[in-house]
C-alpha cells in the first residue's frame, strides 16, 4: 500500500464515515487512490442501537456494518493510530500489535477519532464498572446480566443475592437512560424463566449528577422520564454523584452505599488519547477548530466529531452526537476539496433539529423543533429515525426483523462466557471491603499491587484466633485453590488497595506448568495452617522455646552406608518399636 495520500481520514465513526462518503460523491472511483480511511475495526458501529443490544432487542451483528460495504471506493486500512504529527501531516499506524508499523503522509489530514472513556477520577470505576462504548462492551454487558441472573438463582445468601440483582447505571444522559430502560425491560422479560427470583429482588438504579435526567431535552421531559422509570420500579437518584466503586458496592456523594456487583458506567467521555498532546489548541481536552473545521493554526488538518471542539455557527460548540457528526463530516469533506482546488471555504453552520431517546417499555421522549412530547409515539419516532440513519439496506431489514421477532418471542438469554479468555483482572478496594469470607469456596488468587490488607481467622463463635497483614507485593488465596478447600480466613482491606486477580482456572493452569512456583505457593499455603497449629493451646510457650537438644534422642544408633539392609532392620528392631536409625556417613 502506498504511503502518500491526498486525504487521510482517521476514524470510521459517524464523522469519519460521512466525510469519506462525501468525498466518494465528489470524486467517484477516483477516491480509491486518493482517500485512505484508517480505523481500528473494519466495521462501523451504530452507537444509538447499543442499548438495544444489551436489552437483547437487536442481534449484536446487526448494529454493525462492514466499512467496505458502506464505502465503495475509498481505501480502508484496519489499523490503530499510534502517533500523529500535525505539522508534517504524518501518521504512524500499527496493524498487527506492534509488528507492522507504517508511516503515512497526507496532503489533507482529517482527525475523526472520537472519544474514549477516562474515569480515573472515580476510584474503582475503571476496575469494576462495565462500559458502553464499543460493541464488545454491549455484548459483555448483556452476557454479564444473564450471568448474574444465573448466579442469583442459585444463591441462597440474601445479601449476596441482593448484590447480584442490583444494577446501577451511572449517568442520566441518553445512553444512561436508554441503557437503564433496556436493562429493566430485559430483567422483566427474563424473570419468568428464573422462577426462584422475586420481582422485588430485581433492582435497577440510575444515578445522575444533574437536577434532572436527559438534560438535553429540558426539565419537563426530564421529569417525565424520571416519573416513568420510577413507575416501572426503577430507582432514580438526581443531584447525586458516585464517589467510589468497589467489588461489592458503590459509595455516593452523601455517604450512602449501594450494595451491588453491577455498575454500568455511561459517563466519563474523554477525547481519544492519541489526540492528546498534539501541537494544537485545546478546549476541555478537545482539539479546537475554526469555523471551517480546521485545527487552529493548520491549513490542511481538520478535526471533527467527539474528539474536537467544533463551533456550530451559532456561538455554541457542536454536541458530541451522531446528529452533528454526520454534517460535520460532510462539511469537512467539502472544505478540504475546496482547499485542494483553491476555492473559497464555507463556515460550518448547523442547528440541531431535535433530540430523542427511548426509555424502555415502548416509551420515548422527543424534543423536535421546539415541540416536546413523550410516550408511545415518541418511542416509535425515535426508533424509526434511528432505523433510517442506520447505514445499509440489509442492516435496516435485519433490525426490523429483530424488532418483529421481539414482539412475539422472549429475549435471547444465552450466556456466552466472553471472559473465558481473560487471564487477569484488577480490583480496587476501599478500607473495610472484604475480598472473601472465611468458609467461602475459593475462586481466585490475589497479588497485592497497592495497599494493605488483613487476613483474619475466627473460631466458630467469631472469636479472632489470629490475624496477619498482607502488603504490597505479597499474595494470598492460593491455599484453597491448591488444596480444594474453603477459605480459611477472611481478607479485608485496611487501606485503599488494588489487587491483581487470577481466576481459579487460569491460576491452576499456570501453577501446574510452573513447577517451582507451585512449590513456592504450596509452602506459603502451608504456612497459615502451621502458624495456627503453633498458636493452638496444645503447646505451651515454654515448650515451644525449649532447645531441641533437650528433647532429642541421643546417642544415635548408626550403621555404615555399605551395610546390608538386614543390619539396619536388626538395629531398628533393637530399639523401641517405633524408632529410627540414622545412616551415618562413612568416617563420621
Amino acid at each position: 500500500m502506498k504511503n502518500h495520500w491526498d486525504v487521510v481520514i482517521l476514524g470510521g465513526g459517524f464523522a469519519g464515515l460521512a466525510c469519506a462518503k462525501r468525498l466518494e460523491q465528489l470524486w467517484g472511483a477516483e477516491a480509491a487512490h486518493r482517500v485512505l480511511l484508517i480505523n481500528a475495526e473494519n466495521y462501523f458501529v451504530f452507537q444509538p442501537f447499543l442499548p438495544e443490544v444489551i436489552g437483547a432487542s437487536i442481534e449484536p451483528r446487526h448494529v454493525t456494518n462492514p466499512i467496505r460495504f458502506v464505502l465503495r471506493h475509498c481505501t480502508l486500512m484496519r489499523a490503530e493510530v499510534k502517533n500523529i504529527s500535525l505539522k508534517d501531516r504524518q501518521v504512524t499506524v500499527d496493524s498487527a500489535d506492534g509488528l507492522d508499523v507504517t508511516h503515512i503522509e497526507a496532503r489533507q489530514l482529517v482527525l475523526a477519532l472520537g472519544s474514549s472513556t477516562d474515569l480515573r477520577a472515580v476510584p474503582g470505576m475503571m476496575e469494576h464498572a462495565l462500559f458502553l462504548k464499543t460493541l464488545a462492551d454491549a455484548l459483555s454487558l448483556r452476557e454479564h446480566i444473564v450471568r448474574r441472573l444465573e448466579e442469583a438463582s442459585l444463591e441462597s445468601n440474601e445479601e449476596r443475592r441482593k448484590r447480584l440483582l442490583q444494577f446501577v447505571v451511572v449517568g442520566g444522559g441518553y445512553s444512561g437512560v436508554e441503557t437503564a430502560g433496556e436493562i429493566l425491560d430485559l430483567l422483566h422479560e427474563a424473570r419468568r424463566f428464573y422462577r426462584t427470583l422475586a420481582p422485588a429482588e430485581l433492582q435497577v438504579t440510575l444515578v445522575h449528577s444533574g437536577p434532572h435526567v436527559l438534560p438535553e431535552l429540558g426539565e419537563k421531559l426530564g421529569r417525565f422520564t424520571k416519573a416513568t422509570l420510577e413507575q416501572r420500579g426503577m430507582t432514580v437518584f438526581v443531584k447525586q454523584r458516585v464517589m467510589s466503586v468497589s467489588h461489592d458496592y458503590l459509595r455516593l456523594k452523601d455517604g450512602s452505599r449501594l450494595e451491588t456487583h453491577n455498575v454500568i458506567c455511561t459517563i466519563g467521555n474523554a477525547p481519544n488519547p492519541v489526540l492528546a498532546g498534539l501541537e494544537g489548541e485545546y478546549e476541555k481536552g478537545k482539539l479546537l477548530t475554526d469555523e471551517w473545521l480546521r485545527v487552529k493554526g493548520y491549513r490542511d488538518v481538520w478535526a471533527i466529531g467527539d474528539g474536537a471542539a467544533n463551533p456550530d455557527g451559532y456561538g455554541q460548540r457542536c454536541s458530541p452526537t451522531a446528529q452533528f457528526a454526520t454534517p460535520l463530516g460532510k462539511h469537512a469533506a467539502n472544505n478540504l476539496v475546496a482547499t485542494l482546488t483553491q476555492h473559497t471555504l464555507q463556515p460550518f453552520r448547523y442547528k440541531m433539529l431535535g433530540q430523542m431517546a427511548t426509555i424502555g417499555h415502548h416509551k420515548g421522549v422527543c424534543s423536535i423543533l421546539g415541540f416536546r412530547f413523550s410516550g408511545f409515539f415518541a418511542w416509535w419516532l425515535t426508533r424509526t429515525v434511528h432505523l433510517l440513519k442506520l447505514p445499509g439496506f440489509d442492516r435496516k431489514l435485519r433490525v426490523v426483523t429483530d424488532w418483529t421477532f421481539e414482539l412475539f418471542f422472549p429475549p435471547d438469554l444465552n450466556y456466552w462466557d466472553l471472559r473465558k479468555t481473560q487471564k487477569m483482572a484488577r480490583v480496587h478496594l476501599e478500607p473495610g471491603d472484604v475480598v472473601f469470607h472465611q468458609g467461602e469456596r475459593g475462586k481466585a488468587f490475589y497479588i497485592v499491587e497497592e495497599g494493605i490488607l488483613e487476613a483474619t481467622r475466627c473460631d466458630a463463635d467469631g472469636e479472632i484466633l489470629w490475624k496477619d497483614e498482607v502488603r504490597q507485593g505479597e499474595h494470598f488465596g492460593e491455599g484453597s485453590l491448591l488444596h480444594g478447600l474453603v477459605r480459611r480466613v477472611t481478607v479485608t482491606a485496611k487501606t485503599s488497595a488494588t489487587l491483581l486477580v487470577f481466576a481459579s482456572k487460569d491460576f491452576k493452569l499456570f501453577v501446574n506448568l510452573f513447577q517451582s512456583l507451585r512449590q513456592l505457593l504450596h509452602d506459603s499455603a502451608m504456612r497459615g495452617p502451621m502458624e495456627e497449629a503453633l498458636h493452638s493451646s496444645v503447646w505451651s510457650e515454654e515448650l515451644l522455646n525449649c532447645p531441641v537438644r533437650d528433647l532429642m534422642r541421643s546417642p544415635l544408633i548408626t550403621c555404615s552406608e555399605s551395610s546390608p539392609i538386614a543390619e539396619a532392620v536388626q538395629q531398628l528392631g533393637k530399639v523401641l518399636r517405633r524408632s529410627y536409625c540414622l545412616l551415618a556417613p562413612t568416617g563420621s
Binding site: 502451621m530 503447646w539 546417642p555 555399605s562 546390608p564 539392609i565
Partner: protein
C-alpha cells in the same frame, strides 16, 4: 533410614543383602541443636515429616527429634506442672 524406607525397599523387591545406601532417603531435612521446638514443629509441618536428625555446630548428627518426642515432653510437663 526410616520404616518408610523399608516399606519402599520391599515394594521395589530389594533384597535384604542390598546396601543400606540404596534404600535410605537422601533428601533429608535437619535441625541445628541450638534451634527450639517451635522451629522443629515448623520444619515437620512444612516438609510433612515426623522426625528429623539434629546436627551440632560442625554439621555432625548428634541426635534425632520426632514429633512424638515433643508430644511426650508436653505430657511430661502436664504431670510436673502446677
Amino acid at each position: 533410614m526410616t520404616e518408610s524406607d523399608l516399606h519402599r525397599a520391599a515394594g521395589n523387591r530389594q533384597k535384604f543383602s542390598d546396601d543400606v545406601k540404596n534404600v535410605a532417603s537422601t533428601e533429608v531435612v535437619s535441625l541445628q541443636s541450638t534451634q527450639v521446638v517451635r522451629d522443629a514443629l515448623r520444619l515437620f509441618y512444612m516438609n510433612e515429616v515426623k522426625q528429623a536428625p539434629v546436627l551440632d555446630a560442625d554439621g555432625r548428627p548428634v541426635g534425632l527429634l520426632s514429633y512424638l518426642d515433643v508430644a511426650l515432653a508436653r505430657l511430661q510437663s502436664d504431670k510436673t506442672g502446677p
